[in-house]
């Protein structure tokens, strides 16, 4: 700090600026949270000190260390480069963490750690779109194999439909959830609040369990499909619920129930809807006797 004496020594002026920014942040947080925080800290589980650390220190630490003291406007390239600041093993850890939820481990706090990325959600959604379209096509082919008047068609339209469904689920539901949480945050003093990118990141990674499930649906056994849907729903639903729990637990019970059931409902809707639309039901065995029944069950 002995920079005032020597006029030729380089003085770090932006340090003060970032300190001021960090100070600005911490004063606003302390005004809202301080009366609530001490009691909550004693009540909650062991992760809360990590919460508090995350809230306070990471703000100014990341400000000072990341070197990005000014906020970049969202129409520049550098703004989005921030969300691709991950490495291969990070992505692997996050995918595995989203497939195997552990009680007490919050996805956002454990894996994201204030570094949400756009790479995972975007490429997982794209892979899921093509996986659904291709698997649906293969399963249709296998179901209708051997029939004399069946002509194989690639059904390329379904890629567009799958893309619309998956990407709107991945974008609109987090947006609605984030808006709702923001609205509730104004009413209730909340310890933990998630940014839109973090919620979007969780939703994107939670879709990763469906990729192996969808590939399993190629086999034309109804019991296998329903088993895998239930397993995938449980895993991805529990990841979402456990992640969102800290953000809503201070709220009215009716809002907690409303949010959680909405999250789970949308998940179920997506999974069952995709299965019903893209994968036709395999037929009962005795279709040689009743070609009419076979034709009727043919239409998905």
């Amino acid at each position: 700090m002995a920079s005032a004496n020597d006029p030729f020594q380089f003085q770090e002026f932006d340090e003060a600026g970032s300190l001021l920014e960090a100070n600005r942040d911490s004063t606003t947080i302390s005004i809202e949270v301080e009366p609530v925080k001490p009691e909550k800290q004693r009540k909650a589980a062991g992760l809360n000190p990590a919460d508090e650390d995350d809230e306070f220190d990471n703000d100014d630490k990341t400000e000072l260390l990341s070197g990005q003291q000014k906020s970049v406007p969202f129409w520049t390239f550098e703004y989005y480069q921030r969300f691709f600041d991950i490495e291969t093993h990070h992505v692997k850890e996050r995918i595995i963490g989203s497939m195997l939820p552990w009680p007490g481990k919050n996805f956002i706090q454990l894996y994201l750690r204030r570094n949400p990325d756009l790479y995972g959600p975007i490429w997982i959604c794209t892979t899921l779109v093509f996986a659904i379209a291709i698997s649906g096509n293969i399963s249709n082919f296998l179901v209708h194999l051997g029939k004399p008047n069946y002509r194989y068609t690639p059904e390329f339209r379904k890629v567009t439909i799958a893309a619309t469904a998956i990407f709107s689920y991945a974008w609109l539901v987090p947006l609605a959830l984030w808006g709702f949480l923001l609205w509730r945050n104004n009413k209730i003093m909340n310890l933990v609040s998630y940014s839109f990118m973090e919620i979007f990141c969780v939703y994107g990674y939670s879709l990763s369990i469906y990729i192996p499930a969808v590939v399993l649906w190629i086999l034309p056994f109804e019991w296998l499909r329903w088993c895998s849907i239930v397993v995938a729903l449980c895993l991805s639903g529990s990841v979402l619920v456990m992640t969102l729990w800290p953000a809503v637990r201070d709220d009215h019970p009716k809002f907690i129930v409303a949010i959680m059931s909405a999250v789970v409902m949308m998940n179920i809707l997506l999974a069952v809807g995709c299965k019903a639309y893209f994968f036709s039901k395999p037929e009962p065995v005795q279709h040689l006797d009743s070609p009419v029944a076979a034709v009727v069950t043919n239409s998905t």
Partner: protein
């Protein structure tokens, strides 16, 4: 001497220039820059030479894709003629299937175009956002040229399908498409991998793999109309 010095230009008073001798000379200064300009000025060359030069560049790049070594010739002088040619050829070859009459058919011409170009742009943006040092058009150029093995596979598939569309032909097509998909992915990663930091290579290679897999799928599922 002194008289001559005191009367300047005295000797010139009786010089007369007859009017029928033209006075001419060359006042251009022989500077290197203008000579280089003359060499590279392509305005005056015949059109055939212009076209042939571009075709030769495209052909050289095709050969580089066939034998991918770690050479930067593809990267240094990028051009998008080759990718355009390959994209149009592939999209045309994918037409004329069972698709045309049906609604639930194969990809339309515009869909193939959009998938190839939009996919290349997304992969390029992805690699640049991850900190790649390759430029935008160089990456588009590499991804476009590496579609060549798949286009060749499409042509081979169409020929095989003329012979019949049973299980044997499907097996042959599967082998051909898988081999060319592997070749395309290997060729493009040979060119693109060096421009990425080592801890993110897999993150950049996976979208390329997905891209060529989808194109290979479109080729494999092409079914001819009967």
């Amino acid at each position: 001497m002194a008289e001559e010095a005191s009367r300047p230009f005295a000797g010139l008073s009786d010089v007369s220039i007859p009017e029928d001798i033209p006075v001419e000379g060359d006042i251009s200064v022989p500077v290197g820059a203008s000579r280089r300009d003359d060499e590279y000025s392509t305005l005056d060359e015949p059109v055939k030479e212009t076209i042939l030069r571009d075709l030769r560049a495209v052909g050289k790049k095709f050969i580089h894709v066939l034998y991918p070594k770690r050479s930067s010739a593809l990267l240094r002088d990028w051009d998008l003629w080759g990718p355009l040619l390959l994209c149009v050829t592939l999209a045309l070859l994918l037409q004329g299937g069972a698709a045309d009459s049906d609604d639930q058919g194969g990809p339309q011409f515009a869909e193939v175009f959009v998938i190839i170009w939009f996919g290349s742009i997304v992969i390029t943006l992805n690699s640049k956002l991850l900190g790649g040092t390759i430029s935008f058009f160089q990456s588009l150029c590499v991804l476009g040229y590496c579609i060549m093995p798949l286009t060749v596979a499409m042509a081979v598939c169409r020929i095989v399908l003329i012979g019949g569309s049973g299980t044997v032909s499907f097996a042959v097509r599967l082998v051909v498409v898988t081999a060319s998909f592997g070749w395309s992915t290997f060729a493009s990663t040979a060119f693109l991998a060096d421009s990425q930091p080592p801890n993110r290579k897999a993150l950049v290679v996976y979208p390329v793999f997905l891209f060529y897999f989808v194109i290979g799928w479109m080729i494999l599922t092409f079914s001819p109309s009967q």
